[in-house]
């Protein structure tokens, strides 16, 4: 599988940027302070200090309420980075297509090539039941007229660069869909959920930051997003260009207002026109094409994660569409018994030990935060609830207390050469172990945390309950309790 090479600076160029790639594996304490300027040394993700090892790209800082798109980007970048580390010169997934996509026959594996992925994304029957005439009939439309004669996709000889996903690009389409599809109210809603981000990825693909809003790739935070939000909300108000229902239904008008508000270059506008039409109403699943643009088709983005089958862990090299299909959101049993909660934690721990970027949705109470740590002591010391809201981030590591090996710190190496290594892992994953905190990569920039940009979520806080007081104006107006850890997105079988 050879991902389309984005128009982006080389990693070495990026060492000059504030956001230079630096692999922060969990607890990369040694790298923390120097993360922003850590030079790429050809060993992406090879950080040594970790209890578990999850490849992560640099921390960013959201400027509006779209953490869910930042966590999605972190998830994608991490799986892509893990793949690239394993295939430094690119390479195809291990699954082989059982026949040509233009021939009827047995069902195909969706990840055997990018065309099969597209066909099965549009019609899962082709990969679940059989490759019939409707599957072959869709090839020309979805994969191009030359797909039948296509030779296997070439393996790139040059190292492939890790993705630096543009959250602004997804945000653009999130708002576009809101306004042109079913718009309620007169203000853009910036919040969302995995199902929405997954749909955006499948419909609009992925764009590198440098290709959409180049400034985003140079800065930790995207001021363009907050500027665009303000301008578009102005346009939605009475007298604005998007004030009427007719204007909102007209994709060309919305695109024009958006392109101005986002300050898109002529070149970027042309790319969006080419892929989705001047009215933006065609998607990759309804005939749109990324050909000739820097937009990446998700079916061509390679990722690696692991799956659990029959008690065994298997490495899976596939593409982003397949990952979206396979990972699932699981509710944390916050109101369940201690053993139920521990069992869920064990699933998360195992997924982290296998290098998977586990997404966590949790409730924030800023009064519980101090020095990069969220815990109940902080909340008690603050005297009451503070500003609250939902949040989505990606776990990176954890700290745990074991019976036989004492406390294993996040950031401390688990050495595979250590004779006790297997026993340590077994014990960490046992029901008797107590997780002290989970460390999460955050999207609040690198002003605090340990390492900078990473926060420690103590289990007493994640378990809660905490008072739920959504009103900003009246913190006495608490409407109930919440268990801050809401859910996590896990790979299949965990």
């Amino acid at each position: 599988m050879s991902p389309e090479k984005p128009e982006t600076t080389s990693l070495k160029d990026k060492t000059m940027n504030k956001k230079a790639i630096c692999l922060v594996s969990l607890g990369a304490l040694a790298m923390a302070a120097g993360c922003e300027q850590e030079a790429y040394d050809g060993e992406l993700g090879q950080a040594q200090d970790e209890i578990v090892r999850v490849a992560h790209t640099p921390v960013e800082r959201q400027s509006i309420g779209n953490c869910w798109l930042y966590s999605q980007a972190t998830w994608v970048e991490s799986m892509n980075l893990t793949y690239l580390e394993a295939h430094p010169a690119g390479g195809e997934p291990e699954n082989v297509c059982v026949h040509n996509v233009c021939e009827e026959g047995d069902k195909m594996a969706a990840d055997c090539n990018s065309c099969a992925t597209k066909i099965c994304d549009a019609d899962p029957y082709c990969c679940e039941t059989g490759w019939d005439h409707l599957c072959t009939g869709a090839v020309a439309n979805l994969c191009g007229v030359d797909a039948c004669e296509a030779t296997p996709e070439p393996t790139p000889t040059e190292p492939v660069e890790p993705l630096d996903v543009s959250q602004s690009y997804w945000t653009y389409w999130h708002w576009f869909d809101q306004i042109t599809d079913n718009f309620y109210g007169d203000e853009i809603q910036t919040g969302g959920w995995q199902w929405k981000s997954n749909a955006i990825v499948r419909d609009r693909g992925v764009m590198p930051e440098l290709a959409f809003v180049p400034e985003d790739s140079q800065a930790e935070s995207s001021s363009r997003q907050s500027d665009a939000l303000r301008k578009i909300n102005e346009a939605l108000k009475e007298g604005g260009e998007l004030a009427t229902a007719a204007a909102r239904r007209d994709g060309e008008t919305v695109r024009r207002v958006f392109d101005e508000a986002w300050g898109l270059s002529d070149e970027v506008r042309a790319h969006l026109d080419a892929a989705f039409g001047t009215d933006g109403e065609t998607t990759l699943r309804t005939g749109g094409s990324v050909e000739g643009t820097p937009i990446l088709d998700p079916s061509t983005i390679p990722v690696r994660y692991t799956v659990r089958r029959n008690g065994e862990t298997e490495i899976k090299d596939t593409n982003l569409v397949e990952a979206i299909r396979e990972w699932s959101v699981e509710r944390y049993p916050g109101y369940g018994s201690a053993s139920q909660r521990r069992a869920f934690q064990q699933r998360v721990q195992r997924a982290l030990h296998d290098g998977n970027p586990v997404v966590v949705t949790w409730d924030v109470d800023f009064n519980a935060m101090n020095d990069g740590e969220f815990n109940m002591d902080n909340l008690a010391n603050a005297g009451g609830p503070g500003r609250q809201g939902g949040h989505m981030t990606v776990f990176a590591d954890y700290k745990a207390i074991t019976n036989s090996f004492g406390t294993l710190e996040a950031g401390d190496t688990l050495d595979e050469q250590d004779p006790d290594y297997a026993d340590k892992v077994d014990e960490l994953l046992s029901s008797s172990t107590e997780v002290v905190y989970f460390r999460t990569k955050n999207s609040w920039g690198t002003r605090d945390g340990e390492p900078l940009g990473y926060h420690q979520l103590y289990m007493d806080y994640l378990d809660g309950p905490i008072k739920f007081c959504p009103s900003e104006d009246n913190k006495e107006n608490c409407t109930g309790e919440s268990n801050p850890w809401r859910d996590s997105m896990l790979p299949p079988g965990y």
């Binding site: 959201q62 400027s63 309420g65 779209n66 953490c67 869910w68 019609d123 899962p124 029957y125 039941t129 869909d177 042109t180 599809d181 079913n182 309620y184 809603q189 910036t190 919040g191 959920w193 995995q194 199902w195 997954n198 749909a199 955006i200 990825v201 499948r202 907050s226 239904r249 994709g251 039409g277 009215d279 109403e281 065609t282 998607t283 699943r285 309804t286 005939g287 979206i324 299909r325 959101v329 109101y335 949705t361 409730d363 924030v364 800023f366 935060m369 500003r387 609250q388 809201g389 939902g390 949040h391 989505m392 609040w444 002003r447 739920f468 959504p470 109930g480 309790e481 919440s482 809401r486």
Partner: protein, 270 residues
Amino acid sequence: MKLFKKTLTALLMSASLLGVACNDAPPPENTQNQTEQSLEGVMPDAPEAPGTFSIDRLADGQWQFRLIGAHGDVVMESEKYAKKESVYNGILAIQESGVVDAQYEVSNDSGVWNFYLQALGNNEAIGHSRRFGSEEDATAAMAEARDLVVAMVQYKAAITDGARFDLWRDLDSRDWLFVLRGEDGNILLESQGYTGRTDAVNGIDSVRENGRIEGRYITETADEGVYLVLRAGNYQEIARTGPFDTESEATEVQAELMTLISSEQVANPW
């Protein structure tokens, strides 16, 4: 309904009363200006959207909407329309008809299974699923599609200030109570007191199930007037409203309640 109940249970278990309201960066120290800046973009608390209708132009220039669910999957798609405006009408039809079990039908065409949704009234096909390899898969997907439409209709009621259930704990009695309010905010049904929140939430679910069935309503005459009482299948009272001056007035309210509850256009309190 199975999926909906599963979702409901999950929501209750987590007691997540707010949707994904992303917080941006925490308030930085020192300057008021920075603090104000950091507060920009904090989302108001909002119910969780269960899915969406995506409207798209097809390669042949026609328009279509897709019902998008978990994993970004297409759960159902519409027939094709020449004009985008027609798609909006189609979505409204889905919201009206898609909450009714009887409007769905599984079909088999040469061994390939899928399901259709038919419009209330004329039974014209207004949406269809993808293909499935077995009747079992198609039937399961059909139930999930129906649950998704229900959840979306309830979500729409929540974000458009529609009819809703309110749930709270009385500070004096410590009982959990709920009411069903109409779009105008008036109380249409009022529950008994429950000792636990879970019981009260089950009561809301019971209103949704029983409130559409004519035989579950009775009237009770008291000194102050006529009450309309909603009961479960075991004759236990779930909620009531009144008093009304006359029995016919109570009967009119019953009809309104049945229509409203059957439409699923009532938001949840979570």
